[in-house]
């Protein structure tokens, strides 16, 4: 397969350390991240099928709630994905999807630690 699926055991990237969470909605963030991750398989399949319309629709939704939950990185990367998929750059879109996946895993790990401490 030319576009490998993001691996479940991806390493946490050091550039994603010290993520700040909105304390008012911190208890919603685990479900938020789970919902975003649930969309990744659909995006992956759409990329493999070179289905730009489906990728755009799902990414539009992810981008639509990212800043509401305070995740500028997700907003930025999904915005870039929209640009790339519109140009038909599926390999770049795939790379960005993997970047987003790494970030989500990193956020989940950091959030787990924070919630454990509480």
């Amino acid at each position: 397969m030319s576009n490998p699926r993001p691996k479940q055991d991806v390493m946490v990237d050091s550039e994603f350390q010290d993520i700040q969470f909105n304390q008012d909605i911190i208890e919603l963030i685990p479900d938020y991240l789970k919902n975003v991750k649930n969309d990744f398989d659909k995006i992956q399949n759409a990329i493999e099928n070179k289905d730009a319309v489906t990728v755009s629709k799902i990414i539009h939704r992810i981008k639509g709630s990212a800043l509401t939950y305070g995740f500028k990185f997700i907003d930025d990367v999904s915005g870039e994905m929209q640009v790339q998929v519109k140009k038909g750059e599926f390999d770049l879109t795939q790379s960005l999807l993997e970047k987003l996946y790494k970030y989500i895993v990193s956020v989940q790990n950091q959030l787990s630690k924070k919630l454990e401490i509480k």
Binding site: I25, G64, S65, Y69
Partner: protein, 130 residues
């Protein structure tokens, strides 16, 4: 506001994360909240719960928020249930179209919890006076 006169809000958005966020803000402030992930379900919920106000996304899978507004125009009694549109695409064309179809306000995503509450309360107060 007592339990009996708590206002009922219907949130229509295909993004579960937006619905979850809005529910959290509104329930914290004693509103009754119902959710729909699309227009067809929203039509059924609208008839069943008769909401005091609707928060409505524009771009959803299947029918759009504009389609729902058109349906509402035909199917709601006068005065119509107030609708606040919510969208990332807050371009002038969308704002104008929403108002033409009867929406009372427009909010751009990302949603600001304080602004959501402020707008809802203002509209409900205005409706109570009329």
């Amino acid at each position: 506001m007592t339990e009996e006169n708590r206002a009922t809000i219907l949130i229509v958005d295909d993004d579960p994360n937006i619905r979850m966020f809005v529910r959290k803000i509104l329930e914290k402030n004693t509103f009754h909240v119902y959710e729909s992930e699309g227009c067809e379900d929203a039509k059924k919920k609208f008839k069943a719960v008769i909401p005091d106000l609707i928060l409505l996304d524009i771009n959803m899978h299947g029918a759009s928020g504009f389609d729902f507004l058109e349906w509402l125009k035909e199917n709601d009694d006068d005065p119509r249930c107030p609708v606040i549109m919510i969208s990332t695409d807050a371009v002038a064309e969308n704002v104008m179209k929403a108002k033409d179809l009867g929406a009372v306000d427009f909010m751009r995503k990302p949603l600001d919890p304080q602004l959501v509450l402020k707008k809802i309360q203002k509209i409900l107060e205005k409706n109570q006076k009329n």
